[in-house]
């Protein structure tokens, strides 16, 4: 039973990271019909930006700030202006393929300019355990969960409680009408790209101490978050959060109670079941194609 508790905590911590990344998927999809297959690499890159900052002598806290700012410029602003905007007019599929190319490009560039080998990465949460309900739970798991929950809470507050959030939702739901009533749709779309870049940088900061900084570490994350977004509902932020947590827990339980060899297959089987019986995702809403 204690094993189950440990698995649940570890699963929720991993799932919280998936949720952060999955939320980015849904944000980009809702505002600009962008399916970003480089999302995993977007999580891998900020860690290397932070490592590079530390390499030139910046202390860890400054490296974090620089890493997040640089990520927002590169993975938010530059990504939108240099890749999404020019490709968008050619449709969803060419854009999706362009993001696949971007994923390969980022991976190879990191391999070329940093290293093909893994590097250690400092943790923002101290190592050690605390006792929760009589169980020793690692501070790292708790830290990851708390930061992820705060980020998601902040995001939902922004979207639901502020005028800016309402404008973003309007721009996502019906850009034409939003434009007529004076919402600066382009700026709102840019804002979602910046928010996505912030979320992936945060995920990078949380996950890299555990996964190590390596050029290929985005592959697993990107896939898990993509599955989480579909399972939860690609058009709902709350769906992506639920999907992320669910996949994280499911993965850990499958590895422990089904088989380690088939652990990667279990979330995929779950995905197929969801698509067959609830294609809009567990918390998603059915929508018609926009084109």
């Amino acid at each position: 039973m204690s094993n189950l508790f440990d698995l649940l905590v570890a699963g929720l911590a991993t799932g919280a990271i998936y949720a952060l990344v999955a939320v980015g998927f849904t944000l980009l999809w809702q505002t600009s019909q962008t399916i970003n297959f480089a999302q995993g690499e977007f999580v891998m890159l900020p860690a290397f930006l932070m490592l590079a900052a530390m390499h030139v002598g910046a202390p860890f806290w400054l490296a974090i700030i620089l890493g997040i700012l640089l990520s927002m410029i590169l993975l938010g602003l530059a990504f939108k202006m240099l890749l999404v905007d020019p490709m968008m007019r050619h449709g969803v599929l060419p854009l999706a393929i362009a993001t696949m190319a971007l994923a390969i490009g980022i991976k190879e560039a990191v391999k070329q300019f940093f290293s093909a080998e893994a590097s250690p990465f400092p943790s923002i949460v101290p190592t050690g355990d605390i006792s929760v309900l009589g169980h020793a739970v690692s501070l790292q798991s708790i830290g990851v969960l708390v930061v992820a929950i705060l980020a998601v809470f902040g995001l939902t507050t922004l979207l639901n409680r502020t005028s800016l959030g309402h404008q973003m939702q309007a721009a996502a739901q019906n850009p034409t009408v939003a434009r007529i009533i004076g919402v600066p749709v382009e700026r709102m779309i840019l804002l979602t790209f910046l928010i996505n870049a912030f979320l992936v940088a945060l995920a990078s900061l949380l996950i890299t101490p555990i996964y190590l900084a390596k050029f290929s570490s985005g592959e697993v994350l990107g896939q898990a978050a993509f599955i989480a977004a579909i399972v939860g509902g690609f058009n709902q932020v709350r769906g992506a959060i639920a999907g992320g947590l669910l996949i994280g827990v499911l993965d850990n339980l499958a590895a422990s109670y089904v088989s380690t060899q088939y652990r990667a297959a279990v979330p995929l089987i779950f995905l197929i079941v969801v698509i067959l019986f609830r294609p809009q995702g567990l918390l998603g809403r059915a929508e018609e194609r926009t084109v």
């Binding site: 094993n3 440990d6 570890a10 555990i210 996964y211 993965d251 850990n252 590895a255 060899q261």
Partner: protein, 376 residues
């Protein structure tokens, strides 16, 4: 005048050719570029150092040793072509390659030519295909795992063991041997956990280890995964002693795992940190010549050449056809041939038996804790 010059030139040619005919020709094919460049360069430098020493002392049976180096580019296809080219020149013995994959594709060529091949590969299967011309310079898994099992049973006094391994040829090969040996010795395997190469999250695997509550954990993964599982073992508070191979206690693992690597123990076949005077001497001579401290591949290359010397002197003649037969079953003692560094015995498959070392990570440094004797 012209004719005198011609005679002189002819004489020079004859004497030079004579000298070449006298020399014993070795061919080396190694990873001098590409991903295995560190392996191949250490191996090559080890060979060159040994040859220089042997020739300075008058060679083997009064004949000098000569070696040609060819680059496999760390690519099995290129290795095969280079080995074929080297064999066409009819060398006395073939040295290399270092990568098991390259050895696998070149071994049949050397066997067909009837030339002994002394190589650096460590995969278990290499010497299990019935090749009568292939010899190792270091332990294969079938030699190292029994030592690991014996240490877990005798020294760690573990009655129950959890075995974690990576699901590929390397991991499965090691796992099969170690489990067989542990059970033979009477240690019970209470958890047998396969993991994937590149796996990032070890929470569930470590949870299983914790639930099995073993006396010791044997970890047989690649370097990065070793670092990740060490961190997770520490995170989940697993206190059972950890045992592994070079891949658990290597410098890269220590760098990646940080504190979590402390206390991990591993079996190491060859290390230049070994508390053996002859190895220390080798390390000093190598460092002086090349300005860097060699890794175990430098030792392997060096030993390969001294294997050639000892075997040839045992035969009392330079006979490429009889070389392999002589080396099978041969024991070379360091007292008789200091270049071999440690007493070593070759079995009928070309596998070696030699003393090895038990290394523990203490405050982020590898410390040789114990010398494990030869099995037989």
């Amino acid at each position: 005048m012209k004719s005198t010059l011609l005679v002189g030139a002819l004489l020079t040619a004859i004497t030079t050719t004579g000298a070449f005919a006298q020399a014993i020709k070795l061919a080396d094919v190694a990873e001098l570029s590409g991903g295995g460049a560190t392996v191949g360069t250490n191996w090559k430098n080890g060979i060159d150092l040994a040859i220089e020493e042997i020739n300075a002392k008058g060679g083997v049976l009064g004949r000098k040793l000569e070696v040609t180096h060819a680059d496999s580019q760390s690519n099995p296809g290129v290795a095969r072509a280079q080995v074929q080219k080297a064999l066409d020149a009819e060398p006395y013995v073939l040295l290399g390659p270092g990568y098991s994959g390259s050895v696998k594709v070149t071994a049949p060529l050397a066997a067909e030519a009837g030339i002994a091949q002394i190589m650096g590969g460590e995969a278990a299967e290499l010497t299990q295909a019935g090749n009568k011309f292939l010899f190792r310079t270091s332990f294969g898994q079938q030699s190292s795992m029994p030592k690991v099992a014996k240490y877990i049973h005798d020294d760690m006094k573990a009655k129950s063991v959890a075995v974690v391994w990576v699901n590929n040829d390397f991991g499965r090969g090691g796992r099969d041997v170690v489990i067989k040996e542990l059970e033979r010795l009477g240690s019970k395997v209470v958890a047998d956990l396969s993991t994937e190469a590149g796996q990032a999250d070890f929470a569930a695997d470590v949870g299983k280890i914790k639930a099995a509550n073993p006396d010791a954990v044997f970890v047989y993964l690649n370097e990065e995964e070793s670092a990740r599982i060490l961190k997770e073992l520490k995170r989940q508070g697993v206190t059972a002693p950890l045992m592994g191979e070079t891949t658990l206690i290597g410098q890269k693992v220590i760098e990646l795992a940080g504190d979590a690597a402390n206390g991990a123990r591993g079996h190491v076949g060859l290390t230049t940190d070994a508390p053996v005077d002859l190895i220390k001497g080798f390390r000093d001579r190598f460092s002086k010549k090349y300005n860097y401290v060699p890794d175990h591949n430098g030792l392997k290359g060096y030993l390969a050449v001294y294997m050639v010397k000892a075997t040839t002197e045992k035969m009392g003649k330079v006979d490429p056809k009889a070389f392999a037969d002589t080396l099978h079953g041969l024991t070379i003692k360091a007292a008789d041939e200091p270049g071999i560094l440690m007493d070593v015995t070759f079995d009928a498959n070309g596998d070696i038996d030699r003393q090895s070392f038990l290394v523990e990570v203490v405050e982020g440094k590898q410390v040789v804790k114990q010398v494990l004797p030869k099995m037989k």
